[in-house]
Amino acid sequence: MPPLTPLAAGLAIGLGAIGPGIGIGLVGSKAMEAMGRNPEASGTVFLPMIIGMAFAEAVAIYALVIAFLLFGKI
């Protein structure tokens, strides 16, 4: 395996998780705000929040798959 491949794999997942991390935090913070303003809407807000977080997390998963591929062991 070329010498810089472990570095590449580390960078792939490391940099690739920055965006989704911020995205998930944004979704969560807005959801917290909405629930705080209107506690009765908690049930309505909760499920779309989870779904939004799963979409944002999926992008981080793509980066993880690239990291696995670089190690050649997927």
């Binding site: 939004g52 799963a54 999926a58 998963i61 793509y62 798959v65």
Partner: protein, 250 residues
Amino acid sequence: MEIHVPVQPAEVFSFTPPLIGQITGQISVTNTLLTSWVVMVVLIVFALAATRNMKMVPSGVQNVAEAIIEMLLGLGEQVAGSRAREFLPLVATLFLYIWFSNWIGILPGFGTFEINGQPILRSADSDLSITAAMAIIVFVWVQVTGLRSDTKEFFLKFLRPVPVLEILTEIARPLSLALRLFGNILAGGILVEVMLQIVPPIIPAVFLGLEMFVGVIQALIFAILSLAFLSLAAGHGHSESHGEPEHAGH
């Protein structure tokens, strides 16, 4: 300290199918495939038990099955409106199959029995082949639905200004479905395995709980996204959703 984690599924045995062996050659059965067979058997037995001697006023297993279907239909109608009914068989099957195959890994016996140093049963969705197969089924059904409901529009959309965008969207959807589920379940499995080798056994139980949560959510996401794609293909602008699935791709 060395940490050993199996990333690829391991072959358990291989056989040549009796009649079609000339065409397919040697088929290797992996541990993930075995798990998917176990899940299939359980779901089929449940379905058979629920539909035997069906009564108008349900009781017992039939009651449970009807409750599950009603819940899924309610969820589907939030996403796709009145079309949910016609897509419900495929979407509900995907949901139940993925949920069950994610949760069956909790049972004792998974990862314990080994053959040639590899576990004999392993979470089914940690294999890209299985998730890609489900994504391909959804992809094919989306194309068929699009063709059936509006044949002219189906071909006309390639004459729009940027045909590459349409093609890219159509390819990106099943790809993202397969990779999302695969990545989540594989990463969760590896996380638990690594934790088991680093810390005493009580603490990884927390991660196992996280994995169970992720398992349900990913099943839900897969099913809801498939339903959204199908309903988009069946007719633009017909979905009375509250906004969640209205984007193309991820």
